[in-house]
Symmetry: C2
DNA sequence: GTCTATATTGTGATAGAC
DNA sequence: GTCTATCACAATATAGAC
């Protein structure tokens, strides 16, 4: 599959990433991964011991893409509305690069919710900082009184949902036109930003 | 499993519903369903022929819950903002009854996106009607100029996402407190409604 | 490191007794 | 209608040759 010689381990990991993220843990066989990597199952076990460990490697990597460290943006000294715009822009851009990640993570997290707790510490993100920021802006009178947690979830929802619900949106709303879907995603940064700002500004 | 005698067919369907929606098509074995129903695999095949047909029955039923006919609300003669409030209230209430449906449908739709097209005709919903409604309200000056499609997706996102992302929200934002999550969901109708109305009103 | 061959268990599905 | 027994096959995983 690969003409250039990479580490075999990396080739396997790359194949696993592709197949797992496309089909999920249970929808994936080690045979399928081996075929994709152009090797055989035994070699896969040689490098990663078993299916679970290989999956774990893929999952962790994907998780950090799902919860990126974009929250640092919110802690800078920019104008608040510019922060929001930059956050939405950056997050949607990141998801455009890996559009399959949201549904993959959501599904696998449901299969094993305990993982979230383990993962929390690995990312440096603390929702409390976000809450504090919003409360400060309310006191300053920059924005109207809103619940910070619901606001956070609203932002994430509007950024993430269109990717997780791609088949529904494309098939149901956009008459199954793939080009329409691409245009829709491209327009979203602007649409979401203005929607949010209008919702919270005083 | 059932003391009262129901139709065996219904008992199997009920078990299949539970197991499929919890674990997805590929995460479910016919054995698992048979155990849940308190019967054996052979009987399952007697009534539903194969796994696919049984799944199809479960999926179709679930799909109509995911895309409910709440759009009729929007076609009534109420005040526009009251329509929005009623839509959000009703939809979140419906999802509260079946909180696992969103992620189930999203995942299974990805596995077979062609289904959406088939399903479109079965529901009587037409996004064009929604678009026309929004455009009318813009002309009337009730709301500011927004893209109707993005607005529709924003509404759906804010209603659906908290259910699809339950493990993430509960584990990551709410420190893994199940009661906190319940309170969060209860508060959402009000939060989402006011967020939307502030975002679109002139 | 990489392969073939194989062990072992689980899967969807059917045959046939009752 | 409902069961047990069984088939054919696919799954994960390991042993052992090279």
């Amino acid at each position: 599959m690969e003409l250039v010689h990479k580490d075999t381990e990396k080739i396997i990991l790359e194949a696993a990433r592709k197949v797992f993220i496309q089909n999920g843990y249970e929808g994936t066989s080690t045979q399928h991964i081996a075929d994709e990597a152009g090797i055989n199952k035994a070699l896969l076990h040689y490098y990663f011991r078993n299916k679970d460990r290989l999956f774990e490697a893929v999952f962790m990597e994907a998780f950090t893409k799902m919860i990126p460290n974009l929250f640092v943006i919110l802690q800078t000294e920019m104008d608040f509305f510019e922060k929001i715009e930059l956050f939405v822009d950056s997050y949607i851009s990141a998801l455009q690069q890996f559009p399959q990640i949201p549904l993959f993570i959501l599904h696998e997290l449901k299969r094993n919710p305990d993982r979230v707790v383990e993962m929390i510490s690995s990312t440096g993100i603390n929702p409390a900082l976000f809450i504090a920021l919003i409360e400060k802006e309310i006191r300053n009178g920059t924005i109207r009184e809103i619940d910070p947690l619901h606001f956070l979830v609203n932002m994430l929802a509007m950024c993430i949902f269109p990717f997780a619900a791609k088949p529904m949106i494309q098939g149901f709303i956009l008459k199954n036109d793939a080009q329409e879907y691409d245009r829709f995603i491209k327009a979203r940064k602007k649409e979401v930003t203005s929607f949010i700002i209008n919702a919270i500004k005083k």
